[in-house]
Symmetry: C2
Subunit: 248 residues, 2 copies
Amino acid sequence: MKPANSTLANGEWERLETLEKRLGYTFTDRSLLLTALTHRSAPRLLDAHTANTNHENHNERLEFLGDAVLDLAVSALLYQHFPRAPEGMLSTWRASLVNTRTLGKVGEELSLGDLLEMGKGEDLSGGRKKTSILGNSLEAIFGAIYLDGGYEVVLQAADRLLGSRIRTLEEGKWDKDYKTLLQEKLQGSGLPLPEYRIALVSGAPHDRHFEVECLVGQQASGKGAGRSKRIAEQAAAAQVLSALAQKS
Amino acid sequence: MKPANSTLANGEWERLETLEKRLGYTFTDRSLLLTALTHRSAPRLLDAHTANTNHENHNERLEFLGDAVLDLAVSALLYQHFPRAPEGMLSTWRASLVNTRTLGKVGEELSLGDLLEMGKGEDLSGGRKKTSILGNSLEAIFGAIYLDGGYEVVLQAADRLLGSRIRTLEEGKWDKDYKTLLQEKLQGSGLPLPEYRIALVSGAPHDRHFEVECLVGQQASGKGAGRSKRIAEQAAAAQVLSALAQKS
């Protein structure tokens, strides 16, 4: 319920409450959430005396923090969900989740655009729909949740917002054949077939370490590493698949 | 005290206890710490049936997790310690702390090299002194602390190992004149003087956003952003200083 001393309009207050429901978290200090929703272009930030930005009142510091918050939360969820996946695979998946495109999409699902405070210029040029602004605001919200509720609450919110994407990533089948998948995808889209190059072989004969590059013409490339050429190639192919998915 | 059922030699056990004292954290499940100290080249990892790596028994998964763990811990410490520093400055400082060089140095201070389990080949080629191996092992240790003790304990350990570096970063003087500092440093080392280029100006007249690039010949470059050209240039200069510090 809106307290009597709130400066927010009724409609704005209700939208914040809706957002909190979707996040599964109610802020103790709602000013943190408001800061997370304030783009640096918002007019009330101008300090007439110094013409400097007041870094306390827009979301870029929270975004700095939230970027790391989300990165750890997603890493921890992946680590737990895929107990046998090698590091290279986990890194590829993390990158496919914690990026502007995916986070922007989640921000859109949360209708963050309607809630953002921003300058007129930014607003008129479609700022409320920009993937980067939505993704950055989502990061800032995670920074705010971390400061307000602590890390455990962050984990819950991350699972709520990204858990389904993590669970459908591979349905536990991380050892599926990425090379075949990549080849099929490339053939379907008229792109050149992938080329695999061994970039490094090191270690004693019983303990080899392979690093492989996968190149798709000039369009995409990926790297993978592992104890066998096959494993390294699979990881490289997975990285290319992930890169292509982010482009399309 | 070493339990009766431990398979560790007495000397190894004592070294682990010394490490725990330096970390300021005693593991409940010490096998996590041992995994964090196991390089992928360690011979006991070879699974004769599949010739695949057993990802449970070397430190690369923990390193994946620990990388994100350290990134958040350092971000949170910086955020707290520099309440008025803009995002670009915080990012620059974070990058100067969470990188192979700095983490490798901390790993060296902890004498991690003496404790690592690795293959003979890696050992003979100086693996125990490699910055990358020491840094990665430190990350893995943070992954292990996170799993064993939770995030709060991680924050304490990060503050213990990196807090002095954070506090001496700028002694709170984040608005010092980086452009002057950079110029002095370059003159002292015979490098060309920096060139500042405006990469982007956006926003309404009362709400400009500047992005500036700082170039030092072919040797180094940095980017900065801010509400004025001056602020953006300062941030870009700080980034170049940080890049140069990591090279030297």
